[in-house]
């Protein structure tokens, strides 16, 4: 598939933004700057961006507890996200949600979600709306959520109601601390999805172009009124389940090997420079620009206003 130079720059900028965002969080969390549980998306950038580069604001996604990448890819304000994770009242969710609940309904981002497997049924509902407007709804899940009954219910219902919902399973091979080969009983997520009666394909989750092309096919398929579809993306998680996870389940040298051989940003850079679509300095310029953005986001977050006790009761209801 042909990509314009602008499209490639945009795709790389998104992936790089996610990577830089997560790496900075990794450092700041270690320094004690940030409270709570944070699950980093680094390593899976090609998945989020390869899916979301097809989508507009009237297309919906719902995310997982590992949701920063989906948020950035769907267009959430990076500074607002950083402020949220820092717990500022100026954050995207006023400090009420934090890392696991970043949402921006106007951007079609229906929220990261702290409950594994909760997103798929909600994506079915967004699919009802999307069907009425000619759009699509995406449920991001991992190899953990794929085993939840809610996901099964949602896949079946989407098939029954012929909804334009795409179930995107990012297989990073670990559901929390348990290997995919143990927890997924079926031969694969793809086989299982197909058994629900939907179109189910696989793509390479560390290759933006593989994800992007596969998604083009599925979105066209769904918009044509064929009902839902599923895609399994083979990808990697560069950090632990949560920040602070000692990752004793990893093999010796596993992370080093993954970062060396299966880094989606490196894969992208190699592909576009070898094909002479972009030059190395184009990419370096984006890196510099993104690092500055993240630096600004952190500086603004540290200076941002803090919520007070008076905010606790706000937004429980619209009116009560």
């Amino acid at each position: 598939m042909q990509h314009s130079r602008e499209a490639l720059i945009q795709a790389y900028r998104q992936m790089k933004t996610i990577r830089a965002f997560e790496e900075r969080l990794h450092d700041d969390i270690a320094l004690g700057e940030i409270a709570g549980f944070t699950h980093l998306y680094a390593g899976q950038e090609a998945c989020a961006v390869g899916v979301c580069e097809h989508l507009g604001p009237a297309d919906y996604i719902i995310s997982t507890h590992r949701g920063h990448g989906h948020c950035i890819a769907k267009g959430c304000d990076v500074v607002g996200m950083m402020k949220e994770i820092y717990g500022s009242s100026d954050g995207l969710c006023k400090g009420k949600g934090g890392s696991m609940h970043i949402a921006d309904i106007n951007k079609g981002m229906l929220g990261a979600n702290g409950i594994v497997g909760a997103g798929a049924p909600i994506a079915v509902g967004a699919g009802i709306t999307a069907k009425s407007t000619g759009n699509v709804s995406i449920a991001f899940s991992g190899d953990g959520a794929c085993n939840q009954g809610t996901t099964f219910e949602a896949m079946n219902m989407a098939v029954v109601l012929k909804l334009p919902v795409i179930f995107v399973f990012e297989n990073n091979h670990y559901s929390e601390h348990t290997g995919e080969s143990y927890a997924v009983g079926a031969e694969s997520m793809t086989v299982r999805s197909a058994a629900f009666g939907m179109k189910a394909i696989k793509a390479n989750g560390i290759d933006f172009f593989s994800v992007y092309d596969a998604m083009r096919e599925l979105i066209d398929y769904c918009k044509a009124g064929n009902g839902p579809a599923s895609i399994e993306l083979d990808t990697e998680r560069f950090y632990g389940h949560f920040e602070g996870d000692p990752q004793r389940y990893r093999g010796k040298g596993e992370l080093d090997r993954l970062r060396e051989e299966r880094d989606c940003l490196k894969v992208f850079r190699t592909k576009v420079t070898e094909a002479k679509l972009l030059e190395g300095k184009d990419i370096d310029a984006i890196d510099t620009e993104v690092e500055a953005l993240i630096e600004r986001a952190v500086a603004e977050s540290k200076a941002a206003p803090r919520p007070t006790a008076a905010h606790v009761l706000e937004d429980v209801y619209i009116s009560y």
């Binding site: 995207l92 219902m157 029954v160 429980v316």
Partner: protein, 338 residues
Amino acid sequence: MAKKMIRDVIRDTIDEEMARDDSVIMLGEDIVGGMGSAGGPEAIGGIWGTSGGLWAKYGSDRVIDTPISESAIIGAAAGASLTGKRAIAEIMFADFIGVCMDQIWNQVAKFRYMFGGKSKCPIVIRMPYGAGYNAAPQHSQSIHAMVTAMPGLKVVMPTTAADTKGLLTQAIRDDDPVIFLEHKALYGLKGEVPDGEYLIPFGHARQVTQGDDVTILATGMMVGFAEKAAAQLAQDGIGCDLLDLRTTSPLDEEAIMDSVERTGRLLIVDEAPPRCSFATDLSALVANKAFASLKAPIEMVTGPHSPVPFARELESAYVPSPDKIVAAAVKAMSYRRG
């Protein structure tokens, strides 16, 4: 002004709101009924008769018959409501809340708060509830306490035909999530229903009887039982101030306090078991805020700390009766102040 059964009021109200607003949709098991069967769509029209004819009128995109998948029903209704629809989800029996609790409790109730007030989820979750049908432990429960305990949800328990229309219309138009609890034993109850648009604001108790001796707080089927008890007590010279709370969240605390401060005695009637219940919640509220007005200990008539049993004798022993309400009122009146 027409006289209708509550089940028809529900269908007609949904019909009116669907006709008025294209964004209103409905989801649930068998709400069309007969899909994929030899009998064809609308062979059933909802097992409670609360959705007959709607599918034919509004089609499959708006009257959505679902598989038996409560989590997906609520999740789908939630997702649709987050993205611009007003979804009415039916959970066939309130007892089934157990299989969709996450969607109600962690998702629907919390969206707006978690998302910093930048979303709305105008969903109505209708749940038939309550004992009286010998439907045994998993199809007879009153679950209002647990949903009332959840910040972010509003909880409505209509008891008359007119209230059903006013409260359901309000629920559908309300921008917050609403749990709409319909007592199964009241579906056949008939009453006058106003024509045209009719809304009752939430948090607004209905005064059923006025009296000066005992305040009775009740919800659902217990309102009618308490009304019978009040009539009997009046014959014995005891005047009951009976409030049908109508919504348990928000709660009409003002009406409760006004009444208790006047009568000095409180009797709470609740179909659910007694522990950590709506009755104990009201009791704590009054003990805390109206202690000085109380002339006698607060009385509670509730189900026992047991599941709702099956056999007729057992179920009728379980459900609070007008006789038990009378006895409790007499007990409150008989309290000796030293």
